[in-house]
Every structure is written in structure tokens, then in C-alpha cells.
Amino acid sequence: MSVFSRLYTTSSLLIVATMASHMALAQPASRIVTVGGSVTEIVYALDQQDRIIARDTTSSYPDQVAKLPDIGYARALSPEGVLSVAPDLIIAIEGAGPPETIDVLQSAQVGFVSVPEVFTADGIVAKIRTVGAAVDQVQAAEVLVTQVASELTEAQNAAQKAANGDPKKVLFILSTQGGRIMAGGTNTAADGIIHMAGGINAVTAFDGYKPLTDEAVTIAAPDVILMMDRGGDHGAAAKELLAMPALIPTPAAQNGKVVRMNGLHLLGFGPRTASAITELSQALYGETN
């Protein structure tokens, strides 16, 4: 991450925290819209779910979230759609928008808190603090922070131990649409979780999710392939995947190592990330004591 974005994140954190505390002083919000899967999870973890009246499309955990109205995709929110659920506070993951919608919401005196997204343990802690301040649960948030941070440390330590100085190379595949492998590079949630789980990302040549040429896949020589779980027959899907010419020579294909995990659990960077680390670490290195 560049120095600038780091600075930006820090300053926006401060601003958001200030805003949130001011609002908290005014009156606690009772009709909250959460935007972003991890944001929704944190509000649930703080036991404030009764105050959530609507959520965005990416919020799918826990299951009862599905009963709430869906205000659409986080970056294409409709102003009247959001207003129609009569919220008094919107807590949204960084990048929610468009800006025109946010402007209208703010002019309608709906509180708006942006939650920065950084794919590290500290990033999760910061998220919890921001959300906690926004829902006026600073103390509960600190309790949750302590718990989550220790879980994360523990999970990461266990993962490091399991790796035993010999980290596995993990290739995160977002999709294989049309035989093209979309892989997760640096600065992605996938990259973050792979490192936390004691692995190393097989792709470091680019930022974000991009198609990887077949030869680069072969050269990357991943030990394990990591994918999101989209349901269906895993056995057959894995067979088909590993039969792709680019993957055949890789150690992952030779050992049949394909790991599938729930997308939001794996990449959400919320309260459940410690369990995701443990799950991934076990999938990579097998059960350890």
C-alpha cells in the first residue's frame, strides 16, 4: 500500500471517529442501514442487530440478515431507495456510493459513517472501533476488539507454527470464466488472508484481481489452489479445474490440493476472520495439535 493511501486511511479514520462520536452524543441511532458484509457482521457481533433495518447485497451473514430489505449494490445506491427505509444512520464500507447519493442522504440529515477497509488484523480492529463508535457502543466494541484481536493473534500464531518455516504457495482463483484464470494479486483480501494463514501468495506481480496467463500460472507453481465456495459438486468441479492445461504441471494439481471456503467468511475481514485463518491454515497444513 502506498504512503498516500495509508495517510488517507488514517486521516479518514480520525474524521470518521470524530463524526461518529459527535452523533453518538446527539442521539443514538435506532434505524441503521449497514453496507458491507463485514460491517453487518460487526453490528451483529456487538449485539445491535435489532437496530438494523436494511442492508446491502453483500451482507449475507448471519442468515437472518436475508430477511432485511436489500438496498442494492454498495457502489450504486439509490437515494430514494435508501431514504424509503427511513434510516437515521448508514454505516458503509469504504467506497460506498455514488457520491451524489451520499450527498442527498447527508442533506436529509441521515448520519453516514464510512468504514475503512484494510486487509490486516489491525484493519479489522479499526473497523470494529469505527462501527462501535457509530452505533454508540464504544465499550462493547473495546470488549469485542480485545476478543477478536487475541483470537486473531492466536490464529495467526498457530498458523505460523503449522507452516513450520515452510509456507505453502497459495494461488487464489476468483474465477475460471472461459478458461481464463482470474487470480488474486497483492492488495487484495485474498492476499491478506493467505498471509495471515501462514501461506504466501503465489501471485505478486500485480495488484487486484486480474487474468493470469497460463504460463505465469505454471511458473507460479502453487502448492494449493484457494477458491470461493459457490455450492455444487466440489469433487467434479475440482477435477475439471485441475485438468486445465495451465494447472496440470503445478504441485497443487499433482496433489489435488483445492481449498474452497465461503467467500464472505474468507474475504470479509470481520469478526470471523480468526476462524477463517484457522480453517484455511488447517486446509493448507492439516490438523495440528
Partner: protein, 358 residues
């Protein structure tokens, strides 16, 4: 360029289609009024137009929420919908007249390609711009870029296809395809550079939406669109004459080059503005003129104003669907116009096919 020739059934023709067209204008004005009122009255939130009107009539103040929903969300959105719908439909009709082809659309003069490339550049590269420029445009970097991108590519195309003061429509068509391919390739490079969020933004931009309607956008687009639409009466006779072919049109006293200049520039302005504020919205520019030609014939004196009215009404109707069908979320309007427009268009073609026994 191949021409699709449309032949309504014999014997079913009225004495004078001009009278019919004027009657249709009255109907379309009423339709636009009705859709306008409906779009003000209809929305995801519970705000009631009638309730608000009653309150206002009684001298009561509106609640803050109602006033924001009516005056900062629905009203600018209504205005933007009218501007965009009218622009797209009239631009389509003008392009079809100029290119003598009922399938021409403003994309032919490079507006869409240029605007699309500029919008993608703004989304992906906007962060690298000097802060002075970013401060100047604020949230409106994408629309401002799209507008100038659309104009820029049209001017390039116009330059390429104009020799000794004569613009070759055929050259423009070919150069437009080349420029479109180039813009597509450059867009592809930018798409590759884009991160996940930017990709999502690009996708949504391409599907069009009136959701970002603000008074700023309305105020910026209004003079451009009105200026572009105001020239329509002056090119109607020229576009009619062009149906005879360029040479014959010239012999009836039409300054063909002037008609071309005005048409191309006004279409670039109107479509550029529409695309800039609402993204990519398809089918209005093809379906509306086509329907009107079926109804009252191809005379541009009535076709252009009627296209403005019908285009505006249809876009408002599509927007009402877009913003209520999955409320509180909303669909991109380009999806609605394509999902409704494409089958209607196919149905018209099939029906006519049968009637002609071809």
C-alpha cells in the same frame, strides 16, 4: 450502406399524415405530462405528491424528508429523465435522417465511443489527476470527462471525413467503426488497470442510470440539450430532402453541408450531455423514431418534436420501473430500456414481416 425500406400496407393511409402527426403531438404532450406527474408521485419512499401538494396549498411546511424526496431526488431526476430521453430520441432520429438509414444511432458519429473512453479514464485514472482539476470537477469528473470525450471524438471523426468543405457520410461511418475499435481497445487497457471497485463502477456506468440526478447535473445539461434540440426545426426540411439523396437534396435548395454540420454538432452535444449525466442508455434512439415513423410517417417536421416528447415519456416510464421494481435497491435504467425495448422492436419487425408477406 444497405437501406431497410419500410412499407406500410396500402389502402390504410390517411389523407394527410401531417394532421395525424399534429394530433399525435397533442397526445404525446399529454402522455409526457402524465408520466411526469406519475414520476413525481411514484417512488420507493412513502412520500406522497398529493399529500405534499395539499400541505403546500394549505400553507403548511413540508417535512424535511418529504421536501428532500420531492425536490432533491424526484424533481431533478424527472428533469434529467426528460432531457436525456428527448436528447437520445431526437439524436437518433437526426442521425437516421442524415445517414438515410433507420438503424443509425448517435454511436455512428463517435459520441458513445469517445464518451465511454473518457468516462472509463476518469474512473480509473481520476486519482492521478492534479488536485486542482479534481477540486474543479469534484464529484462530476466522470460526467464532465464523458461530455468532452464525446465531443472530442466527434470532432476528430468530422475532421477525418471532411475534405474541401464536404463531409462524406460514408467515410464517417467507416472512420467511426475504426475509432470505436480504437476506443474499445484503449478502454480495454484501462479496464485491465482498474481495480475491483472501479470495474464495478465501469459496469454500472455502462448500464446507465438516472440515480445520480442532481440539480447541478440538470443545470449543466439543460442549456446544452435545449440548444441542440432548438436547431431541430431548422434541419427538418433538410433531413426530409436528404431522403432523396445528397445531390437531389442540394437541387431543392438545401445546403446539404450546413445540414450535416448542424446535425452532427447538435447530436454530439445532446448525446454527449445525455451520456455524461446518465451513462449508456440504449434503444431509445432507435425504437422511438421507428415507432413514430410507423405511426405518422418520416416527415422530420413532426418526427423530431414528437421524438423528443415520446423519448422523454418512455425514459421516465423506464426510470419508474428501474427505481421501484426491486426497491429499495434499483436497476440500471439501461437494462430496463433494453429488456423492454428489444422485444418490442423485434415484435414490430416480426409483425411487419408477416404483413408484407416477405
Amino acid at each position: 450502406m444497405s437501406l431497410t425500406i419500410e412499407m406500410p400496407k396500402r389502402g390504410s393511409l390517411p389523407v394527410d399524415r401531417r394532421v395525424q402527426a399534429r394530433q399525435l403531438t397533442v397526445i404525446l404532450v399529454a402522455l409526457l405530462a402524465a408520466t411526469s406527474v406519475l414520476s413525481l408521485a411514484w417512488g420507493a419512499s412513502g412520500t406522497s405528491l398529493w399529500g405534499a401538494l395539499v400541505d403546500l396549498a394549505a400553507g403548511r411546511e413540508l417535512s424535511r424528508l418529504d421536501s428532500i424526496v420531492l425536490f432533491d431526488i424526484r424533481l431533478p431526476r424527472l428533469c434529467l429523465g426528460i432531457l436525456v430521453g428527448a436528447s437520445l430520441a431526437v439524436s437518433g432520429a437526426v442521425m437516421q435522417g442524415l445517414f438515410r438509414n433507420p438503424l443509425a444511432d448517435p454511436g455512428i458519429v463517435g459520441v458513445s465511443a469517445g464518451a465511454g473512453l473518457a468516462a472509463i479514464s476518469a474512473i480509473v485514472l481520476g486519482a492521478f489527476l492534479p488536485p486542482a482539476i479534481r477540486d474543479l470537477t469534484g464529484n462530476y469528473l466522470v460526467p464532465v470527462s464523458a461530455f468532452f470525450g464525446g465531443w472530442g471524438s466527434t470532432l476528430i471523426l468530422y475532421r477525418v471525413s471532411t475534405r474541401r468543405g464536404q463531409t462524406s457520410v460514408a467515410t464517417m461511418l467507416l472512420a467511426g467503426i475504426a475509432l470505436g475499435a480504437l476506443a474499445g481497445a484503449l478502454s480495454g487497457i484501462l479496464v485491465y488497470m482498474a481495480d475491483d471497485n472501479q470495474l464495478r463502477d465501469l459496469t454500472f456506468w455502462g448500464m446507465g442510470s438516472l440515480a445520480g440526478a442532481t440539480w447541478t447535473k440538470v443545470l449543466a445539461a439543460t442549456p446544452i440539450v435545449l440548444a441542440a434540440l432548438a436547431v431541430a426545426p431548422f434541419i427538418a426540411r433538410g433531413l426530409n430532402g436528404l431522403a432523396l439523396g445528397e445531390a437531389a437534396a442540394g437541387h431543392t435548395g438545401i445546403s446539404v453541408q450546413r445540414v450535416k454540420n448542424i446535425s452532427i454538432l447538435s447530436v454530439a452535444a445532446a448525446t454527449g450531455a445525455a451520456v455524461a449525466v446518465a451513462g449508456g442508455i440504449g434503444f431509445i434512439g432507435i425504437v422511438v423514431p421507428h415507432l413514430l415513423r410507423l405511426a405518422t410517417g418520416p416527415d422530420h417536421h413532426s418526427l423530431l418534436p414528437n421524438a423528443a416528447l415520446l423519448g422523454a415519456s418512455l425514459l421516465l416510464a423506464a426510470d419508474m420501473i428501474a427505481r421501484t421494481v426491486i426497491a429499495p435497491a434499483e436497476l440500471p435504467i439501461g437494462i430496463v430500456t433494453a429488456v423492454l425495448g428489444a422485444p418490442v422492436f423485434l415484435w414490430i419487425l416480426l409483425k411487419r414481416h408477416g404483413a408484407m408477406g416477405l
